[in-house]
């Protein structure tokens, strides 16, 4: 039975080479070995490599699983060189999933030193920009493993921008629309509109957004609710008097 450290080294070499299948195999062996004893540092190393593997594969569920196992280790004070990277990846994952409450809870756990590390400050700054609405300045991603999340994020951002465009503009030339929505070409824009945004009126050189319905019909008045409210007032006043 090869020792844990040699298994670790093997795993690292696989991960660096980008060899997914063999790394997963190696990781499983390592996990079994760790069950029979191993320091928490070693477990942390192994799990971090597991996280990287799941990112390479694009498997978000495995990612969440490995993160969940890593959290208690971090909490008990284990610190590894990759900690900032993995924490940053976790923040990105929460951000993309729009789990903002957990995102902020994780932020609380970071010390100042950790938060200033470019790997973690990237998602933090990103979240702030997205809240404010500055979608264009995304900046350099600090590590190639963030690419997976950036792709997801781009999709979400695009949807929000499209929503905003609908409400804020009356009409928009195609070229500008493509720019705003961060599409490479007009064709991509047309595909997107055809797929998702059927209520946009497409013309050869511009898009017109249908105005929101402004009808104030009688059905708009929430009569049942108001009747209920007035009745409550009446009963309460009756009780007082």
């Amino acid at each position: 039975m090869s020792s844990i450290s040699s298994l670790l080294q093997q795993l690292e070499s696989f991960v660096k080479a980008g060899n997914i299948d063999q790394s997963k195999q190696s990781l499983n062996n390592l996990k079994v070995a760790l069950l029979h004893g191993g320091t928490s540092d070693e477990s942390a190393y192994a799990l971090e490599l597991g996280v990287l593997i799941s990112v390479m594969e694009g498997d978000l569920q495995a990612f969440a699983r490995n993160m969940a196992q890593l959290q208690p280790l971090y909490k008990s004070g284990v610190s590894t060189p990759r900690k900032a990277l993995v924490t940053g990846l976790n923040l990105m994952h929460l951000l993309v999933d729009n789990r903002l409450a957990e995102f902020h809870a994780q932020l609380e756990l970071l010390t100042d030193l950790e938060a200033s590390d470019p790997l973690t400050s990237f998602p933090i700054a990103l979240e702030r920009k997205l809240m404010v609405g500055i979608y264009d300045e995304v900046g350099q991603i600090p590590d190639p493993s963030y690419q997976l999340f950036m792709d997801h994020l781009l999709q979400t951002v695009r949807d929000s921008i499209a929503d905003c465009l609908e409400v804020a503009y009356q009409e928009l030339p195609l070229g500008d629309a493509a720019n705003l929505l961060k599409f490479g070409s007009k064709q991509e824009l047309l595909d997107y509109v055809a797929a998702e945004r059927e209520d946009w009126i497409m013309e050869p050189d511009k898009i017109t957004f249908a105005p929101p319905p402004a009808a104030h019909a009688a059905s708009d008045i929430p009569s049942m609710e108001w009747i209920h409210q007035s009745l409550t007032y009446a009963t309460e006043m009756e009780r007082i008097i």
Binding site: A101, E108, V132, C164, Q170
Partner: protein, 534 residues
Amino acid sequence: MVQDADMTDATAVTAQKDDSIPSADIKSETPSLPPLQASALRLERLLGGPKGASASSNAESNYTNPVKVIRRWLSTSSGAAADATAQDIQAAAMVLLDPNGVCANGRACLLGNNNVSTMVDTNMEVEAATGSSSAPAYLHVAAREVESWLISLAVRLLWKEKNYTQAFEMCQRGIAIIMAHLEDASNKITSVSAPLASSLFPFLARLYRLRALTTEAIKDPALNANLRVEMARAHNMASLRRDVDTQATLLNCMLRDLMEDSQVEQAQKLLSNATFPEVASNNQLCRYLYYSGRIQALRLEYTLSFSNLSQCLRKAPSNTGMGFRIAAQRLLIVVQLLMGEIPERHVFFTKGMKAELFPYLSITQAVRQGDLAVFHKVVTEQADRLRMDGTYTLISRLAHQVVKAGLRNLHVSYSRLSLQEVADRLGLPSKSSAEYVVAKAVRDGVLDATIHHEEGYMQSHDLVDVYATKEPTEAFHRRIAYCLTTHNDAVRGMRYPPDAYKKQLEASRNRRKRDDKSDEEKAQEIEEELDEDY
């Protein structure tokens, strides 16, 4: 409620008490009883002590909840407790606690801390000075309560002297002693002493809280982890025993522990799983509201947090606890800012809080201006202060609000404004980012405008008449509902003295006699009026 076995001793105690009371009256010759002992003896009386002394109060004490008696007594004796020194406590222990009785452990614990010889010396002095009161007036009924009380006082003293390890030791021993008493009482469930066991609950709660304070000062993470498990178990026991005080205190201690460790997720789980007992003391309720408000603020649940914190501030005592109120006020201001409301100016100038809240005043002003650059500047200046207060992460979320406020200002003042101008005024990086920001703001409902892309400006729509929408109704409804709930709560909370209805009945009877006559008079008057009309 009085222990039958103590009948024989009761008379002896009465005799001694009678001796000591006259000595208290003769102030010129011998000094009155040390305040600790006086309070303890008072408790003995309250709990239905010597049979001869107060027969009528016995009958009452049969029906009074011992926990309530203890609570009331604690509040009256807090003055004596505040001034107690270590010597006072030990003297009281020596005098009041029977070394051969139920409280042997507690007595040993209290006296064992200093040299017994020095104790004897001071006791000698006390004896010489206060004649008959030094004769040990061993308590019987109130023995365990006084023992726990003295232990809690001793721990608090040690904590104030920053003698944390010793304080912790004593705390652990105190808790063990009380638990032993409770075990004892529950074993002898049929004996007469059992009902009195619940009177130990407030002391248990106190010791737990003191222990939490000491462990915080010791700052040992392993210790914290161990204690967390223990506290959870104790909380469980307290809920089973319907021990409201301990339950509430432990819940607050656990929440505080988790918050200090920044474990917001765990704290949230605890909050959602544990219910806070309604009948716990007001101070505990205040603390609970503060912690829940803080957790909710961190989890982005701002409206809930706001209502909790405002309630907390309203219920907080106004004569003490300045630090607590400052902390709550600080958090309330931050949450208000995060919700998009600007707190009123007078809030920052409340008496005693002005200096503490000054950084928040400057931040609020920056938010109101709506300029991102200014806001960032102010935040970086105040960063250390904010980190110390624990509000740094919350304040950093405010960038969004700054932009909203700025945009609202612009929207109201300009009907048409170029996007470049918008970028400059808001401190945004560029014109395109301004475009995105405005678009998002329109989507969020902050402003009502359209962007003209080629010309590069934004055009505001005319303001819609608010009264034409249903917003006023909803706003009114919220306020009315709140007033009605407060009214109902007040009515439910009112307590009438038991004889009050008699007085009312008398009054109404008298009034009716008078009214009878005046009714006739009234009838006559009405007839006269009708005649006049015709």
